[in-house]
């Protein structure tokens, strides 16, 4: 049966989810067969294979492509199929319902704009029906239609349908999800799939096909404030192009952009594109673009560009709702990589607030680990500050995944910012950077002139561990190599800039650290490699180091921890030297680290990165 279809003008990603065996693949097979969307001979081919294997033909076999899927009668992995109906191309994602394949269901549902959730009329609402409903709301799929399947097995009885509808609507209600509609069907027999059932006169609503037609295309997020996460910086030719995809809002040539968390800013000079005439002058949410800026500022992948009046939040700590798919459980204290939009940063779980029971949402469970396929509320802490939004305000910059070793092992949404102890200093730094008055010479020009970028090397650790000795050595070696380095000695500040703080109670230490950080910030602006120690702060060194980091951000800071015996260093330590030391070797390793971090020009080797990093 050949069907003439209007030219498709849009795509709609739709996912089919539900408990195992509730008939997802059958529904899909039926939908294709009844709308004439199968390739010629496909139905006959699958029927022939069934005859050959001596089993009854099922519509589900049309889409279960792997031998094992056909033999076990379950969908193992998400499949994408396409069909066009009334001017719209549907990309239908058939997600497996088996508990073991939850990660595949999530992979399928995460890219959907609408969902059909199947429930077996005979079996009623099952564990996975609820879990899938919960995950759809967590994944941000807002349009959900519930399909009550296998109505033929319950004699097409309205009371059975009404019972399931009520139970499931109540459950979704707790998640603040309102289903578009609830449809009684028999996928096997074709009732209410593409055509109206003659067996259920009591149902006056839409068929599955009509429901698909009624799903709305997600409207672009162009009306929101701008969010433009930086994906990469290219220098293939004379242009230095900031590449990325707008996740919200729009931008145009001439706009002033602020980058978070670095607080740098510049104006959009051009919007770059290949084979587009005339050249574009603006871009909107959803588009992958490239822009150039009117000023050579150093920005990196992971920063989020916005307008100054609506910048994202910045912190090292936030509360999240997370689902875990990892091979090993999620544990407090273990290190994971967090990826939010294009930002990748180390993080750890600070607290597990509760494990959510997806079958009974009121139930609370404690615990120190989150097992595979569980959902939990956590507080995360990142190694360095990141820019983000609460999920309810911005979808793409309010959600993240966690990587455990090589694998994406979990994902979640940010529910709120947690105030960290650096917030006050971070606000100070932001206000100061936004208002910073620049001279004619920019940071890039200085870097080219000096042959290296500015950076801070900060030696931390308890008193009498050789910090000052190593700092002096490092300064000498760097200068002997032709670098522009300067030893910032705390003792010199204490008797001068900090003379009014004599008596040094704890508040005095905080203020000393703040002044120290601001002096380092000034020296950074001169293009120097600042070598310093936390000697002046005695045993309060970890706290002081954090304050200094916050204030010189986003300049690279290399924190070197020194100790007499092996000990656990503060979490943001880059290098550690314990026990008796070979100071020449230690200085050499710090210089290696400077190269690795791209501060010294020699770090650019092997593959050309096309990054601006001199």
């Amino acid at each position: 049966m050949a069907t003439v279809q209007a030219r498709p003008t849009e795509n709609l990603n739709t996912v089919i989810v539900g408990h195992v065996d509730h008939g997802k693949s059958t529904l899909l097979g039926r939908l294709y067969a009844d709308t004439g969307s199968l390739p010629d001979g496909k139905l006959e081919k699958v029927q022939a294979i069934c005859r050959q294997q001596g089993k009854e033909f099922e519509y589900a076999f049309l889409f279960d492509a792997f031998l094992e899927e056909q033999e076990q009668g379950i969908t193992i992995d998400t499949a994408r199929t396409f069909f066009t109906w009334k001017g719209r191309q549907y990309i239908i994602i058939d997600a497996p319902g088996h508990k073991e394949f939850l990660k595949n269901m999530i992979s399928g549902a995460a890219r959907a704009e609408a969902a059909l959730l199947l429930i077996d009329a005979l079996e009623g609402v099952k564990e996975q029906s609820k879990k899938h409903g919960y995950l759809l709301s967590l994944l941000g799929v807002k349009q959900v239609a519930v399909v009550v399947n296998k109505m033929d097995l319950v004699g097409y009885r309205q009371d059975v349908f009404d019972g399931i509808e009520k139970e499931y609507r109540d459950f979704l209600g707790q998640l603040k999800v309102v289903p578009e509609r609830v449809i009684p069907v028999s996928a096997k027999l074709g009732d209410n799939i593409a055509s109206r059932s003659t067996h259920m006169a009591w149902y006056q609503g839409q068929t599955v096909l009509e429901t698909l037609e009624a799903f709305r295309k997600e409207t672009a997020r162009g009306e929101q404030p701008l969010r433009f996460p930086v994906q990469d910086v290219y220098k293939f030719d004379a242009r230095r192009i900031i590449a990325g995809r707008l996740t919200a809002g729009r931008l145009k040539v001439g706009d002033r952009l602020v980058f978070s968390p670095s607080n740098k800013s510049a104006n959009v000079k051009s919007v770059e594109a290949f084979n587009v005439e005339p050249s574009p002058t603006e871009a909107t949410a959803g588009q992958s673009v490239g822009i150039t800026l009117d000023e050579q500022i150093f920005i990196e992948r992971g920063e989020i560009a916005s307008r100054q009046e609506s910048i994202p939040l910045v912190s090292t700590s936030f509360r999240v709702n997370l689902f875990w798919l990892g091979r090993r459980p999620l544990e407090r204290g273990r290190k994971y990589q967090l990826r939010l939009a294009t930002h990748e940063v180390d993080c750890e779980v600070a607290t597990i607030n509760r494990i959510v029971d997806t079958a009974d949402l009121d139930q609370r469970q404690g615990g120190n680990v989150v097992e595979r396929n569980q959902v939990a509320e956590l507080t995360l802490r990142t190694k360095s500050p990141i820019a983000f939004d609460p999920y309810h305000a911005f979808e793409s910059t309010g959600r993240f995944v966690l990587v455990d070793e090589y694998d994406i092992a979990g994902g979640g949404i940010i529910t709120e910012l947690v105030h960290d102890e650096q917030e006050f200093l971070r606000d100070e730094a932001r206000r100061r950077d936004f208002a910073w008055v620049k001279g004619e010479v920019g940071a890039e020009q200085r870097a080219q002139h000096y042959g290296h970028r500015a950076a801070v090397v900060l030696l931390t650790g308890a008193p009498q561990t050789g910090k000052s000795f190593l700092a002096r050595k490092l300064e000498s070696v760097l200068v002997a190599e032709g670098r522009h380095a300067y030893l910032l000695e705390g003792e010199n500040l204490r008797r001068g800039l900090d003379a009014d703080l004599a008596g040094s109670d704890l508040a005095g230490t905080d203020e000393m650290a703040r002044r120290y950080g601001e002096v380092a910030r000034l020296l950074i602006d001169t293009g120097l490699i600042v070598v310093s120690t936390t000697k002046a702060f005695g045993s309060a060194y970890a706290q002081a180091a954090q304050a200094i980091r916050t204030l010189v951000h986003p300049a690279p800071v290399i924190t070197v921890h020194m100790s007499k015996v092996a000990e656990e260093p503060p979490s943001d330590t880059d290098l550690q030297f314990a026990g008796p030391k070979d100071f020449d070797e230690a200085a050499r390793r710090i210089i290696e680290e400077l190269k690795k971090r791209g501060v010294l020009a020699q770090a650019i080797g092997g593959k050309p990165t096309f990054q601006y990093s001199i």
């Binding site: 050949a2 003439v4 279809q5 030219r7 498709p8 003008t9 849009e10 795509n11 004439g36 199968l38 390739p39 010629d40 001979g41 496909k42 889409f63 492509a65 792997f66 031998l67 094992e68 992995d77 499949a79 994408r80 199929t81 396409f82 990309i91 990660k103 595949n104 999530i106 992979s107 995460a110 994944l139 994906q231 990469d232 290219y234 293939f236 242009r239 192009i241 995809r245 770059e272 594109a273 290949f274 959803g286 588009q287 992958s288 490239g290 992948r301 798919l325 990826r339 793409s396 959600r399 995944v401 990587v403 070793e405 090589y406 694998d407 994406i408 994902g411 092997g606 593959k607 096309f610």
Partner: protein
């Protein structure tokens, strides 16, 4: 053409993620319509540049016009073309009469594996599409292959919110599929929209037939068609219910599942 722009935005995003995360990246180019659109999208992503080598696994049975077309574009677009060939298998006389799956495995799968091993590529970009056939419908955008180049479809990594699998143990590699969401019609619509040069074997050149899918000469048969323009192809596809790869002999039976498990494209 809004839907083409959306597909393009997603493909470009995938390209840029691949380029950012893989130090030793390469892209397969078979000169067919899909991998040529792929090549065009790379130029979109990198503003006219193609910052990684293009691999052609030459079975020696390709249609000669395809090789001419390959060399011309490589010159004009300044491409870094790397041609690989399983010379051992060819010297031993491998051809399709020894069995289609055997021949495809030797000349294409193993030819590719040899190239990956020699050059140490850790990321390979390919133009497979989900609507081509069943096993490709199950692919991820970033799909890991083990030390033997095999695909474990039973245990694929999760992929969500444009976060892809970019970390992998030494010795393994990742296949990257920027065209996964495109359909055959989308490919032709885009070729027309962007005016991308393509090989004229896809058109009827007067004998009432054209190729719908291009592979090795002995295993690819043309279809009956009078489509002489891209518009005519799009019109024809809108009405056809014949599978795209029906002219590709290795797809018969369960050939593709077996081939792809072992690392076929």
């Amino acid at each position: 053409m809004k839907h083409l722009r959306q597909l393009e935005d997603q493909s470009v995003y995938i390209f840029r993620e691949a380029y950012k995360h893989f130090d030793n990246l390469a892209m397969l180019w078979s000169m067919g319509k899909d991998s040529t659109v792929l090549l065009w999208l790379a130029r979109k992503a990198f503003f006219g540049h193609v910052p990684f080598p293009l691999l052609h696994v030459d079975t020696s049975y390709k249609i000669p016009a395809m090789i001419e077309y390959r060399d011309r574009l490589a010159r004009e677009w300044r491409l870094n073309l790397v041609v690989g060939q399983n010379k051992e298998a060819l010297a031993a006389g491998m051809n399709h009469t020894m069995g289609r799956v055997t021949c495809c495995t030797a000349l294409k799968t193993n030819g590719l594996k040899q190239l990956i091993e020699q050059k140490g590529y850790t990321g390979i970009i390919l133009g497979v599409r989900a609507d081509e056939e069943g096993t490709r419908a199950k692919e991820r955008y970033f799909s890991p292959r083990d030390k033997h180049g095999d695909w474990d479809f039973r245990d694929q990594p999760p992929e969500l919110w444009d976060q892809f699998k970019t970390a992998f143990p030494p010795g393994t590699h990742i296949r990257i599929h920027p065209l996964l969401d495109w359909t055959e019609i989308n490919i032709w619509e885009y070729i027309k929209y962007e005016n991308i040069p393509f090989i004229d074997l896809y058109l009827d050149r007067g004998d009432g037939t054209r190729y719908r899918s291009l592979g090795c000469a002995p295993c690819t048969t043309p279809i009956k068609s009078t489509a002489k323009t891209v518009d005519a192809i799009i019109e024809e596809l809108r009405h056809t219910t014949v599978a795209e790869r029906s002219g590709r002999a290795q797809d018969e039976g369960r050939g593709m599942e077996l081939l792809r498990k072992d690392g076929y494209m």
